[in-house]
């Protein structure tokens, strides 16, 4: 299922650990869904002097975090912010479709750690918190396959990569190929 590169990182993950006096910490995911990642960074002269992480998740998640830490280390903050999940997946020689969301996690956690560092610098309230609060008031739509909370107007689940179809009747998401809405029973065309 996994490429040799994934397995190699899984067997020998680089930079595992925590940084007690980290300049920035970013955490994404949630153990309820089976995945959670925490990235720790040390910044010096605008560069990532050190990157460490801890991962609770599958083999892909572990390999992703290892790879992200490896490519991020030594980069400028700006460069590091440009690391994409496509890049991560590609450098790992590819990931199975339903594991693509794990490559999100790695970049996301790193970016969150950098944002956390930047926020501390400017001493302003982290944006993310406000956002999260707001989203808690709205109705969340979940992926019918993996329960991931979907962004607005999703065509594909960012987590499990399955194609989505919205029910015209109740607005809920269904998987492409389903005939009747699993939420309200209306026909999906």
């Amino acid at each position: 299922m996994y490429t040799d590169k994934v397995m190699e990182h899984f067997m020998h993950p680089r930079n595992v650990g925590t940084i007690p006096d980290a300049d920035g910490v970013g955490e994404v995911g949630n153990p309820v869904c089976g995945d959670m990642m925490t990235f720790y960074i040390k910044v010096k002269d605008g560069r990532l002097e050190d990157v460490k992480y801890q991962t609770f998740g599958c083999g892909a998640a572990i390999a992703v975090s290892s790879l992200v830490s490896e490519i991020a280390k030594g980069k400028t903050l700006e460069e590091a912010m440009k690391i994409t999940r496509e890049q991560v997946a590609e450098e790992l020689g590819g990931l199975p479709p339903h594991k693509m969301h794990c490559s999100n996690l790695g970049a996301d956690a790193l970016h969150k750690a950098i944002e956390n560092y930047l926020n501390k610098q400017t001493d302003r309230k982290p944006e993310a918190e406000g956002e999260e609060k707001q989203s808690r008031d709205k109705k969340n739509f979940h992926c019918p396959s993996c329960d991931f909370i979907l962004p607005e107007r999703a065509l594909v689940c960012p987590r499990c990569q399955l194609k989505l179809v919205r029910c015209e009747h109740c607005n809920e998401y269904n998987l492409e190929g389903e005939e009747t809405c699993r939420h309200c029973g209306a026909g999906l065309i």
Binding site: V16, G34, C58, G59
Partner: protein, 396 residues
């Protein structure tokens, strides 16, 4: 020590005796049992012999066996076929919350046709309470389906009692015995079942052969319509070699049952004891005693099942997991969820199912490799770090 394959629930090698019985039916006795000429009639006799062997394993009549291609097909035929054939009498069906997906999704299909499904909950061991099934039965109920043994946590359900309740209310009772048949003694007469699913690959037989036991006189709507095969209840050219293999495997299972159960139970308990004492914060899932003799299942806290599975595989040990990350749909096993396990804990699911030939040395090999694999993953787990800190706080 060439490794330890402990995922027999997913797949197992076909037994040599079984393969030997199958081989002549590929190229030599290749006839179609429906053909009237001699080549066909040889195949028809082999089919009949296999039907008798399976019937003997579960104590039914040969004509009460319908051969199908998989446990899932047997379950679909049972759930859809029995419900559709009885819909004039009512439209409610009752299943347990921990049925195999093939039962759950077959019931969901029926819901689109106007049926209603009631799911009976289970306790923390995964046990169905027969009283709750009885309570759920109403005048509209036509079918109850509760599995004989659960494949993910090994728990053996009180089907005889449930069957008794159903009988007293005139409701058909089906049991998915795919994980049980061939591994523990199953007597459909003594249990009072109208229908039961079993699959060859769960007891040394080949993939592609399974059966639905259907009590004589019980009406069923076919799933695969067409020719007159299987007495008009399952069309399609019979998979003769696989069915011959199923028959032979059934015969062997019947003859070796007592010894096998005794031996595997001891081995299983050694494995469970060793795993629970070898690593801290591991919980047994399923019932400690009412469980399949070859089945040991756990949740290892703070780490995720797929990573554990890969780590063990690198040591030549093959196991399964019900974690969200191991499933293609990225959902945690509905069985663990129904048993009320904490969702984060459920991610550490680990399932070992032993082959008939498993030896003590293999179990001990696992017990040796298991702690370091867990340790390595815990060392990189944010949850474990947090746990250790909290424990420190407490002890401080």
């Amino acid at each position: 020590m060439s490794g330890f394959y402990a995922d027999r629930q997913a797949a197992a090698p076909v037994r040599p005796e079984v393969l030997e019985a199958m081989l002549p039916f590929f190229a030599e006795n290749f006839g179609n049992p429906q053909s009237l000429h001699s080549a066909g009639q040889r195949a028809a006799r082999a089919l009949q012999a296999a039907r008798e062997q399976v019937a003997r394993l579960i104590n039914c009549l040969p004509e009460e066996i319908i051969f199908v291609s998989s446990g899932s097909e047997a379950n679909n035929l049972a759930i859809k076929g029995l419900a559709l054939a009885s819909q004039a009498r009512g439209k409610q069906i009752i299943i347990s919350a921990i049925e195999h997906v093939s039962v759950i999704r077959a019931a969901r299909f029926l819901e689109k046709l106007g049926f209603k499904t009631v799911q009976v909950p289970v306790d923390g061991y995964g046990l169905v309470d027969p009283g709750k099934v009885a309570e759920a039965i109403n005048a509209d109920t036509v079918l109850v389906s509760v599995m004989m043994a659960n494949n993910e946590v090994g728990t053996i359900e009180p089907v005889a009692e449930i069957a008794r309740f159903c009988r007293s209310k005139g409701v058909i009772f089906h049991s998915d015995a795919v994980a049980a048949a061939g591994n523990i003694p199953v007597d459909v007469r003594a249990l009072g079942l109208e229908a039961m699913s079993l699959a060859a690959d769960q007891f040394g037989g080949p993939k592609g052969a399974a059966a639905l036991y259907l009590k004589k006189g019980t009406k069923i709507t076919p799933l695969v319509d067409g020719g007159v095969q299987e007495n008009n209840r399952r069309a399609g050219t019979e998979n003769v070699p696989a069915i011959v293999g199923l028959g032979r495997a059934a015969e062997l299972a019947r003859l070796e049952m007592d010894n096998k159960v005794r031996r595997l139970t001891l081995l299983r308990d050694r494995l469970i004891r060793g795993a629970l004492t070898g690593v801290d914060e591991v919980v047994l899932t399923g019932h400690p005693e009412k469980r399949l003799p070859h089945h040991a299942s756990f949740c290892v806290k703070f780490i995720e099942g797929e990573a554990m599975l890969l780590g063990l595989d690198l040591n030549g040990i093959q196991v399964a997991s019900g974690s969200a990350c191991t499933s293609r749909s990225l959902r945690t096993s509905h069985v663990l969820t129904a048993m009320g396990l904490d969702p984060a804990v459920a991610q550490g699911s680990l399932v070992l199912t032993l082959l008939d030939g498993t030896g003590e040395e293999q179990v001990d090999y696992f017990l040796e490799k298991f702690p370091p694999v867990v340790r390595r993953l815990r060392e990189m787990s944010p949850l474990y770090t947090r746990y250790l800190e909290e424990r420190k706080d407490v002890h401080r």
